[in-house]
């Protein structure tokens, strides 16, 4: 016997194959209970639709679970509810405008999307070695701050989904501090479009380094300590996560799983170490691993990574403070690619600086033409293709871009780690308890914006 908990047509073939089928929609079970031939046989199956609107599915994920009692016999993930056509839209904008689209894919790690996209465009342009040193340091700084924010956005809701509001509030409170830093530096809390092909949009604002230093000195270590004290040995958390959602190295390899899930199997695979980019080889940090292959191990890896990221941020701040280069650029010094205007904050928001406006409107016709051409038309990118992978907070995030030699991407594709990790839901959940589905999903830390793009 099968009970479909949400509505659906009962069909004669289905009944012939599965026995008596009951459809229950809207939580009304009365007619099932009162049905005379209600069969309480051993092989009773219930099909439950969890999502797409469900508080613990991290957005609009839909899980189709087949249950025998409390045991999940089949778990199927259904995605596509947040597909926004980012990749198609990119083909109708200039290469620079593309940054504002990719940043919205996985909205909990916007900096990583921007970095992967911009680095792949830079490889197509052949300017990878011409990016200013200061821009590279600021990129690393922002990426590591974003890693902290993304992991907190995974750990906090993890607690909430297990029923602990305190963990959620503590996690979100610390994430809030990181978002405040983002707001100070980029002007926005998310969807920054801060990393651009050729460098970053603007330099650190006055007081930016001091604000990060203050966060690093006092708040961050205390908040990490509080979170660890709250979660690490919490008996309820341990009971819900230890040995749950098991995924070993072999399964990770077969399913293309990377990031904290892979490192929780004991393999220290981190692209920042193995295939360094942005000068990561010059920073001191460790790659934390666990060998438990379970949800608890993934939590510990993320927590350790937060501490390592803060370590890298500290080094970035020191480097930026120690640099003593006059007119240190943050955008490539190539007038054919670099954005012509220094941006500044005006009364109506971010825009070209008043000096730049005065220059192009009053002083130089050529500068006006140059500005117009570069802003409306954009730069040309030589034909070809490139794939640049980076170690994002969730795993390998790659950007495959194809150019036909024009001013717009011919094709841009984000290889989002969450998309691949969602395939592991069935492996993690089938044969386990229904209650363990929740920590399994939370330990993957998927963001549907990145899965669906």
């Amino acid at each position: 016997m099968t009970t479909h908990v949400t509505g659906g047509a009962t069909d004669a073939d289905e009944e012939a194959a599965e026995g008596r089928v009951y459809n229950v929609a809207g939580g009304d079970w009365d007619h099932v209970v009162t049905a005379g031939d209600f069969d309480r046989a051993e092989n009773e199956q219930i099909v439950v639709n969890m999502g797409p609107q469900h508080p613990s599915t991290h957005g609009v994920l839909r899980l189709i679970l087949t249950l025998e009692g409390e045991t999940v016999t089949e778990a199927r993930a259904s995605i596509g509810y947040l597909h926004t056509g980012i990749e198609k839209n990119l083909e109708y904008r200039t290469w620079t405008q593309g940054t504002t689209f990719v940043t919205r894919a996985d909205y909990l790690m916007p900096m990583f999307n921007e970095a992967a996209y911009c680095m792949s465009v830079e490889r197509l342009l052949g300017i990878e070695d011409k990016i200013p040193e200061r821009a590279q340091i600021i990129r690393v700084l922002m990426l590591e701050l974003n890693r902290v924010a993304s992991h907190l956005g995974g750990i906090g809701p993890f607690g909430l989904e297990l029923g602990a509001t305190t963990i959620f509030l503590q996690g979100v409170r610390m994430r809030e501090n990181v978002l405040d830093l983002f707001e100070l530096i980029t002007g926005l809390r998310m969807n920054h479009a801060f990393i651009r092909p050729g460098g970053v949009a603007q330099d650190m604002p006055p007081g930016g380094l001091e604000a990060i230093r203050e966060f690093l000195r006092d708040k961050a270590p205390r908040m990490v300590h509080d979170l660890r004290k709250l979660i690490d040995a919490n008996p309820v958390f341990l009971a819900r996560t230890r040995g749950i959602a098991y995924l070993d190295l072999e399964a990770c390899m077969a399913l293309g799983v990377t990031g904290p899930l892979l490192r929780a199997t004991g393999l220290p695979w981190d692209l920042r170490k193995s295939q360094p980019y942005l000068g990561y080889e010059t920073y001191e940090f460790d790659v934390p691993t666990q060998n438990t292959c379970d949800a608890y191990g993934r939590y510990l890896v993320r927590m350790d990574e937060i501490e390592q990221s803060l370590r890298i941020v500290r080094q970035c701040v020191d480097r930026l403070a120690e640099r003593n280069v006059p007119n240190d650029p943050v955008m490539i010094q190539d007038a054919k690619i670099g954005w012509p205007a220094r941006l500044s904050l005006g009364p109506d928001g971010m825009g070209p600086s008043p000096e730049h406006i005065a220059h192009i409107m009053d002083q130089s016709m050529e500068a006006l033409i140059h500005h117009f051409k570069l802003v409306t038309e954009g730069f040309r990118v030589p034909a070809g293709q490139a794939y640049v992978p980076i170690e994002s907070a969730k795993g390998e995030l790659g950007c495959h871009v194809v150019s036909d030699g024009g001013t717009r991407p011919y094709r841009a594709h984000l290889r989002d780690p969450s998309f691949h990790h969602m395939q592991a839901v069935a492996v993690m959940c089938e044969g386990g308890n229904l209650a363990d589905v929740i920590p399994a999903i939370a330990s993957i830390d998927p963001v549907i914006g990145g899965v669906d793009r």
Partner: protein, 260 residues
């Protein structure tokens, strides 16, 4: 270009695609469809350089019979540099052991911007992937999925599937590229070798209409099940409606004036 004078019986050795006046009242061959656009694309030859980023010939005279030569497809000869030679040799040896010649499976190799691309014939894709995964000298454990590309201007090889492979054992990366004509959009599925490609192949089917033969359940994944068409193909419009902003109507992005 010379026109054959009437009555001249010497066989025309000119390009038969050009609409020339034929003797004896025979109907001239109809010009190819491209000629009506004022250009004809040739598959190989010198690379075109247009002015002001012109998309076609740049011919504004109205004469309309200039011949456009497409750039020849990129191809690299060994040595490829770095670890690329080791990969190519190991792959060749592994294929040889299975009784497949290297050039039977690999159409050409391209080294560009520090990345190596093996253009694989689609009949041999599964064998090549199997060797890449299982041969100890190759060991590409992770296939990071498949990305489709729709090249409108490559006749009989419009649809491309691009695979990026990662070897953790050897710390290497390569790219495989497979093409299929639009009329026969079939590429063998890699799910038997790399189960991770399951969803990504569904996505590529959904967006590009590439049929991955042998996939266990090739259904749409991002678009609704009853969607018509494959949205990321180049002949599929972006869509959109005009939006009013500060008193003026903004047309949708693909209908705006385009500076390119």
């Amino acid at each position: 270009m010379t026109q054959t004078p009437p009555g001249d019986e010497t066989p025309a050795e000119e390009n038969e695609n050009l609409p020339l006046h034929r003797p004896g009242g025979t109907t001239p061959p109809s010009p190819p469809a491209e000629a009506t656009r004022g250009e004809r694309r040739l598959a190989a030859g010198v690379e075109r350089t247009g002015m002001f980023g012109a998309q076609t010939t740049g011919d504004t005279s109205g004469y309309g019979r200039l011949q456009v030569r497409q750039p020849p497809p990129l191809s690299s000869e060994p040595p490829y540099g770095g670890y690329f030679d080791a990969v190519a040799q190991a792959l060749g040896a592994a294929l040889q052991a299975a009784g497949i010649g290297f050039s039977d499976a690999i159409e050409r190799v391209v080294v560009d911007r520090g990345e190596i691309t093996f253009h694989v014939r689609r009949e041999r894709l599964v064998e090549v992937a199997d060797k890449l995964l299982h041969d100890p000298a190759l060991r590409f454990e992770i296939c990071t999925g498949v990305s489709g590309v729709h090249y409108l201007d490559q006749p009989d090889r419009e649809l491309h599937a691009v695979y990026h492979m990662l070897s953790i054992t050897h710390n290497r990366r390569i790219r495989l590229e497979v093409s299929a004509p639009d009329a026969d959009p079939h590429i063998p599925s890699l799910t038997g070798v790399y189960p991770a490609n399951n969803w990504h192949e569904r996505e590529t089917w959904d967006f590009f209409g590439i049929v991955f033969d042998g996939h266990p359940a090739l259904t749409r994944i991002e678009m609704p099940d009853d969607w018509l068409g494959h949205p990321q193909r180049k002949d599929y419009p972006l869509g959109g409606i005009p939006v009013e902003y500060r008193g003026t109507k903004m047309p949708p992005p693909d209908e705006r004036r385009s500076y390119q």
